[in-house]
Symmetry: C2
Subunit: 247 residues, 2 copies
């Protein structure tokens, strides 16, 4: 049951992800052509957007909310392979079958483009293909970063890594003051966190409790997280804490 809510803005130029999504480099006229082939779809938290193997006749951008990309083995073991945040792209041009399952973990709004005309536009205007290449290269880097987390980090480091990723992108979206403490809501259940990190939900829960006990994070309820000192969290994640400048 897709809720067919409509977004609060009217045109692409008012779209909150206008400058970061796959359409970021488009000129006015290109945007107008995109308007013709796009439509909005919304999903409520927990809904499945598509199943692996489904026929897909669209590609899409996440406008708001969070979705997950997951892969499942026959015996039910599942691994999350991507976290889709606003402006992220879903689907692969030239491919009609979904490779992964997509699930909304919060209420979700997507901007969908009919696949065939979108593919045609990609060949006729380089702006879209260029932007998609940039975004794909970024995602590849993120996936490789994640391979280090999955392959070599301890459970505690994994949790700290996930928290710091979510904290950072949240700080970015909400333009938080640096150096100060950060506050955000976890967009994932313990089970989803476990699926992201290659752990069980029990281990996630225990490590969250341990980080809380050690004062690395403060929990209010199950989802609201406060990070008093981001550098300490980064150190727990096994990443170099210094931000790059001033040694």
């Amino acid at each position: 049951m897709h809720q067919v809510e409509t977004p609060k803005f009217k045109t692409c130029s008012e779209c909150p992800i206008r400058h970061r999504a796959v359409c970021a480099k488009c000129e006015k006229d290109e945007l107008e052509r995109l308007e013709d082939i796009k439509y909005y779809r919304s999903f409520s938290a927990g809904q499945t957007v598509m199943w692996a193997g489904d026929h897909m006749d669209f590609v899409a951008s996440v406008i708001s909310g969070v979705a997950t990309l997951t892969q499942t083995m026959e015996d039910g073991r599942t691994q999350m392979v991507g976290l889709l945040l606003p402006s992220d792209f879903v689907g692969r041009p030239g491919r009609s079958q979904a490779t992964y399952s997509v699930t909304a973990t919060t209420d979700l709004m997507m901007c969908c483009f009919r696949r065939k005309p979108f593919e045609q536009m990609m060949t006729s205007t380089p702006h879209i293909a260029n932007r998609l290449l940039e975004m794909t290269l970024d995602e590849l880097d993120a996936a490789r970063e994640w391979m280090l987390v999955l392959g070599r980090k301890t459970a505690r480091e994994k949790i700290a890594s996930l928290l710091s990723i979510i904290a950072r992108r949240d700080a970015l979206l909400n333009a938080a003051a640096p150096g100060k403490e950060l506050m955000f809501d976890l967009p994932l259940t313990r089970e989803a966190m476990a699926d992201y990190l290659g752990l069980t939900l029990e281990t996630v829960s225990r490590q969250m409790s341990a980080l809380k006990r050690d004062g690395i994070i403060v929990l209010k309820g199950k989802r609201a997280v406060t990070v008093p000192d981001m550098d300490v969290l980064m150190t727990e994640a096994g990443d170099d804490s210094d931000g790059g400048y001033l040694t």
Copy 2:
């Protein structure tokens, strides 16, 4: 010490990776422009091609041999994040610092393009950018496949997964008859396999012995592997064994 051997062919049109590399879609005239900005470099097994953080003034295609892409934490834990086979692309246009270390695990020949002129060509001819997008999307799929291996598979399944990947690409290169037994040389040491799989080299060794004991593989020396039945290996990897047709 870079060995400055030269390849056995003379022009791009005779190049063995001509139709699969980043230049695959180029026309004759575009190939000529590429000739002007390219040069060959060769490395012997074990040599480091570049260190993470190095300044890079080129991007490159692997012509022959195998290289690895690795990421290392401060305390020395390392994770391989990519396996570079012939036709694979190294480096990121627009980025001057290497993100990962690249190491030749066999003798290696690369076709390097000076970065700045290559970037200019990317904007002026869509064929290169298009091909690079395709290749990057494929690599992203491979990375995500690997996340499932790292996060959710047992040591035995991990080894079987790695062996089946190498066996398949080898069969592809050498056009082996399907259904028959496969034979190939491992291009990786036990330690490199461990770094790919998020295991220790001892566990890799034990699981190799176990697969051998169970008749899944036959070892001749340390590197030569024979797979009597590919379907059995795929089942051990936890992948669906059936190739897609005929259920």
